[in-house]
Amino acid sequence: MKQQAQHTPPFTEGINRVDGIMKVTGAAKYSAEYELPGMTYAVFAISNITKGTITSIDTKAAERAPGVLAVLTHLNAPKVPGYEAGKDPSKPPTTGGPLKFFVDNSVKYNGQPIAMVVADSFERATYAASLIKAQYNKQQHETDTEKNKFKAAAPKGGRNGGDYKRGTPDDWKAAAVKVEQEYVVPINVHNPMELSVTLAHWTADDKVTVYAKTQGVKSTQNAIAQAFKLPVENVQVTTKFVGGAFGNALRTWPHEIATVQAAKLVKRPVKTVLTRELQFNTVGYRPYTWQKVSMGASADGKLTGIIHEATAQTSSFEEFTEGTVNMTRFMYACPSVGTVYKITPLDVNTPTWMRGPGEATGAFALESAMDELADKLGIDPIELRIRNHADTDPENGKPFSSKNLKEAYEMGADKIGWSKRKLKPGTLTEDGWLIGYGMGTGVFGAGRGRATVKAALLDNGTLLIQTSVTDIGVGTGTAMTQIASEIFTGIPVKKIKFELGDSSLPPSPTQGGSTITSTVGGAVHDACTQLKEKFQQLIGNGGTDKPDYVKVLKEKNLPQLEVTVTSSGSTEMRNFSSYSYSVHFVKVKVHPKTGVVRVDNVVSVADSGHIVSPKTARSQIIGGAIGGIGMALMEEGIMDHRYGRYVNNNYADYHVPISADIPQIDALFVNKPDYRVNPMGAKGMGEIALIGMSAAVANAVYNATGKRIRELPITPDKLLS
């Protein structure tokens, strides 16, 4: 299937990041960098116990400390009107709701804010917060998922509740070749460079302006409007740049509401920037998840049954669920599949989606188990996947809107030199290091949602495109500019202005779940197409391909020509299953004596339709691979369960890959359009960049050493034991 050349994208290069220069020169203004006249700073005092009640809290010293304007606690905090009505400031993931700060004396997790100090400088607020002393009535807490697995139950709400069963999943037990193994993904913490930021400024009694770190200005706007019972348009939310989020700014957290509340109280702008330590328990994390995969295959490698079980942690006050086991239902052509998903409530803050969320957790188990099965069968792991390739969606019987997974396997295998891989582990060495090759597959739903885009041709020759979407660093502005530039071929890229990150602009969804290129891109495409038609009508027949827009607008005496278009996916999509796929290939070196693992080479192949913006797509794949290396080899939020406190809540002790850990990474694209999803033929590729990567690394480590590490991260100690 050597067809790569045939699918060379029409624009192999793609445009440069439209905000690249701004970012590298420091001109890009991030939310924490906004300064307002009279601005004040908020710092939290936090609970040192994990569960119980506050019996007394002494804030006198803090109140007297220099520069302090206010100290908010449950005893004196002004009521948040939306809280009183029992409404939550943000949509809970499923059932329950986020914690409301300063409403009562209960402590639900260690590190929970018990007071908020507002002062005229960050340092003074920090010092004053350190003077607050609380007495508690302590209760026995539980923070250990492993220990509390027995309490786990099916979630009550949400899309991920309920067991799934097709055929007779227990058939795996009778199979010729079987795998039955447990896998653990520990707590991972998003840890983007940019900390959580909220700067709130009431411009009138019923009007508030907020600069926030959020993945969705519209959802933050709605959450604040609900909490303070304001008309939505009275809340202005701006997020021009995001310094990485990875899911932790997908929802509006209670400390953000508290900041808005404090600003109302002190009648001055209040800025809250969380500390690195507080990031760990204030804005979510990937939940600790235990999994078990039981699978069986006939001697010729045909799957006969799979059961995939998962138990993850959630908080005591809110259900968080994610699609951990869902991939197993449709990934392979297996007649009998069962999935079981449970959660166990703990005295911790609520987890949230993180990088390729539950799917990345689930893919570690499923794709590791597939590797184990291939090993037992004595066949190549790619061959096993091809033998069980699902030609139609086994979960619902629908055809796929497009699927080029086999081609992706081939492209990646070629590039990494898969033929050098030895079937028998521990047999390849280079310079005294053990060498191994591994692969893993990723998959994520590819849909298209609703978005509204305004496109306008201005009489100065600018094409202005506006929508509220945020760019969390992935290059949305660039991709949208690219889409527009292909419709308005006569307008130079630098004359295309894409405005985003502002709640007063036409609504787009929150950036997350790999939907933005498809959803917003689709709307940009439709708006630009309609604008072009409108222009065509203006000049009548006989217009050229590259008309002089400025001249025409001036002649017609029009300062601008604009359209506002709302669009979403076609109903035809209901007849199809639509997914984006990735295949990750990894070469690792393992030191035979010290157990040190170094990733030597990565090839990630994306099958995600037409690649709209090649440069930013490549960056996304590289970023995902790096995130996957982190998840596989080093990331773990470690808690001392005796205290319910993290012991590595800082950048020195919570390891993410640094430059020296990052090898050559090749991003390859199948680049075949899927026009069923949207008019560009593009499918999302945000999450697939990471999903499956940690399994690829673990499988490569096994191939190098013969040691199967089923509990991430794969640190040197685990390879020595």
Binding site: N48, E123, T126, Y127, S130, G432, H591, K593, T594, G595, V596, R598, L633, M634, I638, D640, R642, Y643, R645, V647, N648, A652, D653, H655, P657, I658, S659, A660, D661, T715, P716, D717, L720, S721
Partner: protein, 329 residues
Amino acid sequence: MKQFQYIRPATQQSVLDAITKPGTKILAGGSNLIDLMKRGVTSPDKLVDIQKLPLRGISQNKGNVMTVSVGALELNSAVAENKIIKESFPLLSMALNAGASPQLRNMATVGGNMMQRTRCTYFYDTAMPCNKREPNSGCGAMEGINRMHAIFGTSEKCIAVHPSDMCVALAALDASVEVKSKKGTRYIPFTEFHRLPGETPQLDNTLATGELITRVIIPHNNFAKNSYYLKVRDRSSYAFALISVAVGLDIRGGNINEARLAMGGVAHKPWRLKAAEQFLKGKPATVANFEEAASLAMQGAKSFGHNDFKLKMAPASIIEALSNAAKLS
């Protein structure tokens, strides 16, 4: 962080005057001290910034014994890249470059590196018990998360490790430390500079109140050709050692004339492996001998659960480091 006074004296005398008072702390690069202040682990009333003192420079002194002297304010990065150091003591250069990150090495000074405190997370978190931070509050790590902790020289009170890489090399190189106070000058052998926790884990070293580190002096040796610093860590850079091993061998005709071995990540101080050194003296540089040396070095090791793996990783690392120094692998 509580309010404090900050001074930056221009003379050594005024620094020595200022640091006699309790609650006063010397500030060098600040890369450790400021962090500790931010976390509330230490709250000095006064910071005495010593950056104006002439404590820089690396020079060779040709006395009875040839030595190299390194000023206490020399930057970690500058020492690592210095020509004299690279030629005479490549081990020190390797160890320095294995520490922290380039940004930190550009801030960190030699004196500050020696005086940096443990990275035990219970020590850093004022809400947890820690005998080192708060005597008699208990040791959080003993039955807690102790993956990074010591296997040698521990006490009932504390099982923390000294986190420095540079100091492991300096211990192996038999350096000595010049310290000054109002009482005068004294010299502390490097291996006696740091101490074991014993009953008083709050004391990291033998530097007395009112003393200033001014220089580190390294005697000439014949290890330059066969030196190696191995650092085993959880990521390729910017991570503290799980285990580190500093090796200097003086090999003549395949035989080890003299050996120096020290380990990091295993004790409250850089851990010299004297028994192993003794064993290797006069023996051929073979893997079999290295294995024997490693097992001698491990005598008396004791682990605490999460750090059990060090009992395996440490000897493996000793063998690996020796083999690299002897250029066997």
